[in-house]
């Protein structure tokens, strides 16, 4: 029924009243463009959050020691000193859902270079740490396993620490003094930016955990264990396996509480991702409302058009147009209006999203799915809002229509 000549007829009818067709399309154009831009902003935000999640490390779990109670005073998480390097090795060896693990010993120290000094956090660990945290090197390289075994005085600088201590100079091979011990700089890490919690992850100095434990702090326990699960979906399983392994190793009875706690940072991250999804949905539905308004504009104009063209409808009926052919003609007109508006709206939307990216520095992401959706939605708007006017046209009485002035 909707053949080429019906389409030609619709295009001709729309071309006859360019100004009005254009203004009607404008409603759809704005609606579709708004949907595209809003979804692009939402998706961009989600993408940024996902990047941040990836920057924390791949499928990261962090194990903290439990609390201790002394004379009724309960110390916080991390006050227990039951976690050892043997736990780290056992986790990597015995938990199938764990890809690798690394120890963590934390401290704060004043670092001194030849010209500057800077208070920063000290992180003692093994070379696995950089891999678990997905942290590439800007220059130089990691300290090695030999350095860990030998309690060597080598360090890797975070980007912020490197800048504060050495400015623009490449510090690889230079010496930093920490707690009066000279440390050779083996490498500098790429900047990672803020953590999900908002602290600067790059303001750190990483050294072998053995060096920190023995030479600096004089302790033998760990402050944390970094665990990398085999995949994102395995983090929960890995967490269970680590829990049961550590309970067993620490000889914890059934009725006793864990002497450690596991934080699954991807939980925090997925909450953030879910928040940005909600934002996308919210933005898209606000934009959807404007598309709806555009659709009502189409209906309005089609109704005016049907009234105005009553005589034309009468003539067409007199020469034998069937009711459904009249209906089809008006429906095609509204769908063509909506699709034409939708196509222009998609182009405007893509341009708008790019402009926002460029000017406001917001990340935007235009997905083919959102374009397809906008296109399908505008076709649906054309059909839905065109149906009533088209039906009205098809039900006109030919005798009355021919006399209509």
């Amino acid at each position: 029924m909707i053949d080429l000549s019906t389409l030609q007829m619709a295009l001709r009818a729309l071309a006859r009243n360019k100004m009005r067709s254009g203004l009607t399309m404008l409603g759809i154009i704005i609606g579709v463009a708004a949907v595209i831009v809003m979804v692009a902003i939402g998706e961009g935000a989600k993408y940024a959050v996902q990047n941040q999640i990836a920057s924390m490390g791949s499928n990261l779990l962090v194990v903290f020691p439990g609390t201790t109670t002394q004379g009724g005073v309960r110390h916080g998480w991390g006050s227990m000193s039951t976690m050892t390097i043997d736990d780290v090795e056992a986790i990597a060896r015995e938990c199938p859902a764990v890809r690798m693990s690394a120890p963590g010993v934390r401290s704060v120290a004043q670092a001194v270079s030849q010209s500057q000094n800077w208070s920063t956090s000290l992180q003692g660990t093994t070379p696995e740490y950089f891999e678990i945290r997905n942290w590439p090197f800007r220059s130089g390289e990691s300290f090695g396993y030999g350095d860990v075994a030998a309690m060597a005085n080598v360090c890797v600088l975070g980007a912020t620490a490197a800048d504060k201590l050495f400015g623009s100079e490449d510090p690889v091979g230079l010496v930093v003094r920490i707690k009066n011990l000279p440390f050779r700089v083996a490498g500098v890490l790429e900047p990672k930016g803020q953590s999900v919690m908002g602290s600067d992850q790059d303001d750190t100095i990483v050294i072998p955990y053995t060096t920190l434990q023995r030479k600096v702090l004089g302790i033998s326990h760990l402050n944390m264990i970094f665990v990398s699960a085999v995949s994102q979906s395995d983090t929960a399983v890995a967490s269970e396996q680590v829990t049961s392994l550590l309970r067993q190793r620490h000889r914890i009875q059934l009725y006793q509480e864990d002497d450690f706690s596991i934080r699954n940072l991807s939980d925090v991250a997925s909450t953030a991702a879910a928040t940005s999804s909600v934002m996308t949905l919210l933005l898209a539905s606000i934009a959807g409302v404007s598309l709806l308004v555009g659709g009502i504009g189409v209906m309005n104009i089609m109704l005016v058009s049907v009234t105005e063209r009553t005589r034309e409808i009468g003539i067409r009926m007199a020469v034998g147009a069937l009711a459904r052919e009249i209906m089809g003609q008006f429906l095609v007109e509204s769908v063509v209006l909506a699709l034409l508006g939708g196509s222009i709206g998609i182009l405007v939307g893509i341009g708008g999203a790019r402009a926002i990216s460029a000017m406001a520095k917001w990340p935007t992401l235009i997905s083919p799915a959102s374009i397809a959706l906008a296109f399908a939605f505008s076709a649906a708007v054309g059909i839905f809002f065109g149906l009533y006017p088209a039906r009205k046209a098809s039900q006109l009485d030919p005798i009355d229509s021919l006399r209509y002035e």
Binding site: S5, T6, E312, V319, G320
Partner: protein, 252 residues
């Protein structure tokens, strides 16, 4: 004359309900119109002639009585089937021309063929040929607003003919035209009747125009008051020749 009966009505009646009152627009009209006849239907307004023509044109259906067009009873058809009858057998010419505005002459003539599913190439060929037949080959791409009333009515005649109908219904076709142009339009209709054997029903209230028909049917109060052949039928072509030559006013 062809003895085939194109229009056969029997006791055709039409009632309109206006609130509580019933208006009897037609009160039993029985009439036969044969092939190639040129009939003038006359009557004052309110005589029922418009109602009669609407029923003949399958735009409306009778309340009682029967109407056979070309041997087929069309009085009980659904609106959809009536549209099919209009498309295939009837050509309309209206007083107000009823052309589509901002649509070229050629496209206006082609329009009915669109609904008859005629392929584009043939549509164009048939419409072009008919425009030439009514003398408007050079006006094919003009809009109605650029043409005179007489030219517009000739386009309307071409449109009425394009589906090769069995019956032409011309409803006051000269009502909006000056007398010379009126005769020109009637001349085309006469030619169609005499040369092509087209059956034509011409609705008019002007005696002057009705004298060009072969037969006059006079309506009054919903009934046929008189039905008589035209004794000395006027020839539009001759009348035109007798008129003083035209000073190209139509070209203005």
């Amino acid at each position: 004359m062809d003895r085939r009966v194109v229009v056969r009505t029997r006791s055709l009646s039409k009632d309109y309900h206006l609130g509580d009152t019933v208006v009897h627009a037609l009160r039993g009209v029985t009439l036969d119109i044969h092939g190639a006849e040129f009939v003038a239907v006359m009557g004052a307004s309110g005589s029922g002639k418009s109602t009669f023509v609407n029923i003949l044109g399958c735009l409306d259906r009778p309340t009682r009585g029967s109407y056979e067009l070309d041997g087929q009873d069309v009085s009980e058809l659904t609106p959809n089937d009536r549209a099919v009858v209009r498309k295939t057998r009837i050509g309309f010419v209206f007083q107000g021309f009823n052309l589509l505005q901002r649509t070229t002459a050629l496209e206006n003539v082609e329009m009915p063929l669109h609904y008859a599913r005629v392929p584009a190439k043939e549509r164009r060929a048939r419409a072009t040929a008919l425009l030439a037949a009514v003398g408007l080959a050079d006006r094919a791409h003009h809009f109605p607003s650029q043409l005179s009333g007489g030219q517009q009515q000739r386009i309307a005649i071409a449109r009425a003919l394009v589906n090769k109908p069995t019956l032409i219904l011309a409803d006051e076709p000269t009502g909006n035209l000056d007398s010379r142009t009126s005769v020109e339009i009637i001349e085309i209709l006469q030619r169609l009747s005499d040369e092509e054997g087209m059956t034509i029903v011409l609705i008019t209230h002007e005696e002057d125009i009705a004298r060009f028909a072969q037969r006059q049917v006079l309506f009054r109060d919903g009934r046929i008051k008189a039905d008589r052949p035209v004794d000395r039928r006027a020839s539009a072509a001759e009348v035109l020749r007798a008129l003083p030559p035209e000073d190209e006013e139509e070209q203005a």
